[in-house]
């Protein structure tokens, strides 16, 4: 870049002095952005991060892909009699698993922000208090969509043919994403309480891994010991997996849908204000 030398005669001029003066001249302060606009701006920030480091999507897609392939071809015959039949059972379940694993990264990303100075900047802005959090969730939707789509495409490639067609698949994906929003707030709270991004990641997986396996994602609960079966049946992840299977097959139980949406609403109602509070006070 070539600029004319400045008057102070430094070896390397900072910039054109007129440009500096113009840039510093007082500009009128615009009205503060609306809550929606601020949140959308933070969503844009989240998407830029994915754009700059697309590899981060690999983390959240490879594991579920491995699960689909391994479980279908190794255990499928033993669990369900045939791989094709097992694929029908497991695919909606893995869709749930894939997206829910991704929610952990909402907490990880928030914790990463906190270890840098940028949160101080956001907190000193005159914007809606929850905007950075809601916005990052909006950005995370991209990840949920990618994670979910990969599993659905993989399933179709392996021969999965849902009875309810594309509408059913989209409805299931939408339901899973709505639930993921609720669960994300839990991980964001954890992200604000723990000290390092890797601690958040570990805690997240320590929570979600057993919960996923102690659900009906992989096996039918009737085959389990009765104590375990009782737990699996009340596990919200089981209900979500059932509801997704139902939507894809065209026979979803209204009760399951209500439980899933209710749980998501409850998680949001409890953890969203908590997260906002912690974000302000930390």
């Amino acid at each position: 870049m070539s600029t004319s030398p400045t008057t102070s005669g430094r070896s390397e001029p900072l910039a054109n002095e007129t440009a500096l003066r113009n840039a510093l001249a007082s500009t009128p302060r615009p009205p503060r952005p609306s809550a929606v606009s601020a949140a959308l701006t933070f969503g844009w920030r989240g998407m830029l991060k994915v754009k700059h480091v697309p590899e981060q999507l690999l983390d959240v897609t490879i594991t579920p892909v491995m699960f689909v392939v391994m479980f279908t071809y190794i255990f499928g015959g033993a669990i369900a009699g045939s791989t094709a039949e097992y694929l029908d059972y497991i695919l909606p379940g893995i869709l749930v698993m894939s997206v829910l694993f991704t929610t952990i990264y909402s907490g990880v990303a928030l914790n990463t922000d906190l270890t840098k100075g940028v949160v101080d900047r956001f907190r000193s802005l005159p914007i809606w208090r929850s905007a950075p959090l809601v916005g990052s969730l909006l950005g995370d939707t991209v990840r949920y969509l990618v994670g979910g789509t990969v599993i659905i495409v993989l399933g179709l490639a392996l021969g999965y043919r849902p009875d309810a067609g594309i509408i059913g698949v989209l409805a299931a994906l939408a339901l899973v994403i709505v639930f993921a929003f609720g669960l994300s707030w839990v991980f964001m709270t954890i992200g604000l309480l723990l000290r390092s991004p890797s601690a958040v990641l570990n805690a997240g997986f320590m929570g979600i891994f057993p919960l996923t396996f102690l659900s009906n994602v992989f096996v039918k609960p009737e085959t389990l010991p009765s104590g375990l079966e009782a737990f699996v049946n009340v596990n919200p992840i089981s209900v979500l997996a059932d509801a997704s299977r139902g939507l894809m097959a065209g026979n979803a139980a209204t009760e399951d849908l209500a439980i899933v949406l209710g749980t998501a609403a409850l998680l949001t109602a409890v953890f969203a204000p908590l997260t906002t509070r912690l974000y302000r006070s930390r």
Binding site: T6, R10, L14, N16, L48, T115, G117
Partner: protein
Amino acid sequence: MTTHSPLAIEATGLVKTFGEVRAVDGVDLAVRSGSVYGVLGPNGAGKTTTIRMLATLLRPDAGSARVLGHDIVSEAEAVRGLVSLTGQLASVDEDLTGWENLVLLGRLLGLKRPAAKARATELLDAFGIAEAAGRLVKKYSGGMRRRLDVAASIVVTPQLMFLDEPTTGLDPRSRNQVWDIIRALVAEGTTILLCTQYLDEADQLADRIAVIDRGTVIAEGTAGQLKASVGSGALHVRLLDPDQRPEAEGVLGRELDGVHLESDPAALSAPCADADRAAEAIAELSRAGVSIANFSLGQPSLDEVFLALTGRPAEESASEPADATREEQPA
């Protein structure tokens, strides 16, 4: 409008404790609008905590403050609308490019998308980082990052700017560039609260200086008053030929009092506050045939200021980590 209040910051008895530690222990500040106010102190003195309270990021445990006429607790939102903060850690997003950072802040401050983009480009040009506009900030040098940080603080011109150690860790050239930007901001009428560990930085930029130690203000005044209270600086001379030192000692001894031989065999110094007398002493040296490699008229260092004000050297107390609040969980 609140701009015409004579005081941009009015703080009385600010206190912040983290657990057992009183990081800030009764700080009073009065900062005139349109001035640069330096807060000088070693690490752990309470500077960052004070700034974070004034910028509404921390709630004081006691005391009160008005920033641009608004109470920092009950009218925090109004304060946030008028100030900007450049924290000690770079307060930009490392995973975005410089341009994206500025557009992001422009949008968050209420600019429309085209205006935010134009403003980002304008600032990058003016701050000499246009060629790095599309590079991720984590690949920036320290000086570029600092300049971007300051640029991020003025996307929309603030009435008051908090600058927390803007040049710590920068090489001299980058430091000069940041100083130039600060001077230009002041010329435009922005009030600045500048925290620093360096007396020369406060001296170069600040109209008034508060020296802070262990959470309290221990001295306040203009740089001149402060240095007068601390005592003079010293003339440092380094010779080309160490063998000439005895000769130089004799000459300086006649011109100035209290010549001190330094551990460097070619260096010596003498207390001296007056540039004219220093120039005369240097002239005498060269008349006597002593070859000088370099000389400087040094100001008292922060250490010397502290020694004079407190009777002990500036120490890095462990009471306030670089960023106390990140270490401390609120109850």
